[in-house]
Assembly symmetry: C2
Homo-oligomer: 448 residues x 2
């Protein structure tokens, strides 16, 4: 594991080391691992080193330091950068160089972070596996679509990487690679300058090695940007303040029985049974099996309908350039009517109001981050995103906490899902849960 982001920012502030030294270690580590892992599309070696020098001179001059001062960050290659091409994982855009950066790049730079390079994404953030391998065991998939960002953090290349999720593209790879992740409430992190596949479902996410770093990065990326239709002109939760506080009362969790959980892998099921045992009456069960199919179908309708709006014109101009999985989805989408789409939005609205009520009684939903460990590369799949679909549909905040492991000793994540725009309360609950579980048991099949 690389130094954590908060350790880097603190160490630079205290003069224990410089941003340039940290960055050199980051590039050394990438050199060491990336021929095996293939997490990176391209690196901005010179630009990053130059920026590190400026950040060090700011430190020497006594000027203000940022919360991510000197912290190396990797960026999923669907996020516009000016120094490096942004290719969406597609040959069509191999040399695409936008004139202005995505808003989140500006926010990271304002916080003092250093953009190291672009991480591998699956083609157009869709389901076909990329070249990236899982650092825990390179015979396995890192998941998708934010494959490179999850792998880069898991490989100890750097402390923070940025991904995005339209279905399960942050929480799933985090689960497979054994790193922490947040997919904040929809709208908290602005998407201006990020590939649009579905403006309703697309949401940014962050990979890191601890909750503290997720809080630091998420706070730096929270913003109101009127160019993002989901961004709202109101204050955002501040995660780092919430994280530093204990919950006012012991949190109450809920386990939703959902159709797809019958497919939970044996060891994963055992892990969650253990956790529920330990939690005792701190967790309750609610049967939500009836709603599952409707919600998952609504997600699919919204996604494919909007995918056709966004990728259809590109496909028309560049025939036979996209992979078959995308082409099949675009083809399916042609038979989705506007009424189907509207109906799916209504189902989503109902679900949103269900969850508003649910979180009056519970602090968080406890649920697996994935059905199983990572699939073998041979299976030619980025794994099943189903454990994320409903939360993504509703834009609810989600954390992956890498607490469990499966039959092949690969990581499996515990997912916590919270009330819309109460990401602050959710990180407090996540911290409580992690401490509670690791204090209570030594014999849980815990990763760390």
């Amino acid at each position: 594991m690389f130094l954590k982001a908060f350790e880097i920012a603190r160490g630079i502030k205290e003069g224990s080391f410089t941003a340039s030294e940290v960055l050199k270690k980051c590039f050394d580590k990438i050199d060491e691992t990336d021929s095996d892992i293939c997490a990176w599309v391209c690196l901005d070696t010179d630009g990053a080193m130059e920026r590190a020098k400026i950040l060090d001179s700011i430190r020497k001059s006594g000027k203000a330091l940022g919360p991510l001062h000197g912290v190396p960050v990797g960026i999923k290659d669907i996020v516009d950068t000016v120094n490096l091409p942004t290719s969406y994982g597609s040959d069509i855009f191999a040399d695409r160089r936008p004139e202005s950066p995505a808003r989140i790049i500006e926010l990271l730079e304002k916080a003092g972070a250093i953009i190291v390079g672009k991480t591998v994404t699956t083609e157009f953030a869709f389901m076909k596996p990329s070249i990236t391998k899982n650092p825990v065991n390179i015979n396995y998939s890192p998941g998708g679509s934010s494959s490179g960002s999850a792998s880069a953090v898991a490989a100890g290349n750097l402390p923070i990487a940025i991904g995005s999720q339209t279905n399960g593209s942050v929480i799933r790879p985090a689960s497979f690679c054994g790193v922490y992740a947040i997919k904040p409430s929809s709208g908290i992190i602005p998407k201006f300058g990020v590939l649009e596949t579905s403006n309703i479902l697309d949401q940014m996410g962050i990979f890191a090695n601890c909750l503290e770093d997720l809080a630091l990065a998420c706070d730096a990326l929270s913003d109101y940007d009127s160019r993002d239709p989901n961004s709202r002109p109101f204050p955002s939760p501040v995660l780092s303040i919430a994280l530093s506080k204990a919950p006012p009362v012991e949190p109450k969790l809920v386990w939703l029985d959902l159709d797809y959980l019958v497919n939970l892998d044996g060891a994963v099921r055992t892990g969650f049974d253990q956790i529920k045992d330990i939690l005792g009456n701190r967790i309750e069960n609610i049967d939500a099996r009836e709603a599952t199919k409707k919600l998952v179908a609504a997600h699919k309708t919204i996604y494919e309908y909007q995918l056709l709006e966004n990728l259809g014109p590109i496909n028309n101009q560049n025939p036979s350039k996209m992979n078959n999985l995308i082409l099949e989805a675009l083809s399916r989408a042609k038979s989705i009517t506007y009424n189907d789409f509207k109906l799916a939005l209504e189902i989503r609205a109902e679900a949103l109001s269900f969850f508003e009520s649910l979180f009056l009684d519970y602090d968080a939903i406890l649920t697996p981050s994935a059905i199983s460990e990572a699939p073998l590369l041979d299976e030619n799949s980025t794994g099943n995103p189903i454990c994320c679909t409903i939360w993504t549909l509703c834009g609810l905040p989600c954390f992956n906490i890498p607490l469990l492991s499966g039959e092949n000793s690969l990581p499996v994540g515990v997912q916590l899902v919270g009330k819309f725009e109460e990401d602050d309360r959710l990180i407090r609950t996540a911290n409580w849960l992690q401490n509670f579980l690791t204090e209570k048991v030594a014999d849980l099949n815990l990763l760390k």
Copy 2:
């Protein structure tokens, strides 16, 4: 004086009152004063009340509150807003309604502020007086060009208003109206969506009733926005943290002798002589008279050259619509060559490096905010901006502290000027100076 911004945010947080109650007081006060003062171009009564209700519901639901939660803010009418027209004080743009807000509007809304309305600006932020009057005495000018913003705060309409300064348009009206103001380092507050008269010289500023409120608002408005060429991708100073700390050693100030200070009004001179006496060896004198003319001329060259670039095309399309002072400036500008402009930029660069050295030895320059008290309305002038010209040219951070008064018992401000991008150190020094002076003397001709 209206409630201070920090008192409003705290009171709403603690449940002492609601955003809606505060806003109602703000509109009542505007109703009461504005027929005399004429600080407002237009008000967003309904939109603001609706927003206050939402902010109150956020408070009730226990969601995150912003640092300016429920704080009413006034906006100079050269800043783009979506709910209200943005007319630049010109008939040409009487009904101009931009499609997207200025970046600073987004930043204020993210912080929880409520945009109350647009404040009067002089036409294109130039020198011809507007209709606004000085709330201290309505026979006098409030200064310009941010006339309405200074007057609205001085009239107790609200705690914070936003202005801009290309020469002396923030610090001078603050001095005349007896309110606090900051004109931060160039680039700290992004200008995207604000009328451009000179991209080198235009800088945003803030009016308030205390240093705490300036710190809150300036921190909320600090940002990196690549659409503003002066905005930089590095951390900004955090004023509220600096303000909460005492200087590590007693600050050392410097008084620069400058040509124009021979014209200081008698009572103003006496006031500053008193302050220098009290400071004793905490302030040193440097003769900078030789440089004055060159720097003031460089400012004029850059300003008028860029004013022609920006307003020239508008004037060509709308002949005889601008006031004579602007037309004369545009006419003068036609004889400024590109070489003149480049030479002026070189003089500016030399001055910048002079100030970088100067601030190795001193914490701040102490200097008047204006030559005199506000002029009478009859004089048909917004007053002399000369006391601001050099600092604006160099983009240095400036504060107005309303400590003195002149012969007619009108306010005169003490100006503190600091090192580029060390606005945090400067507010700490400003706070120290204010405490030092008010503790040491009761018999200074202090305003408050």
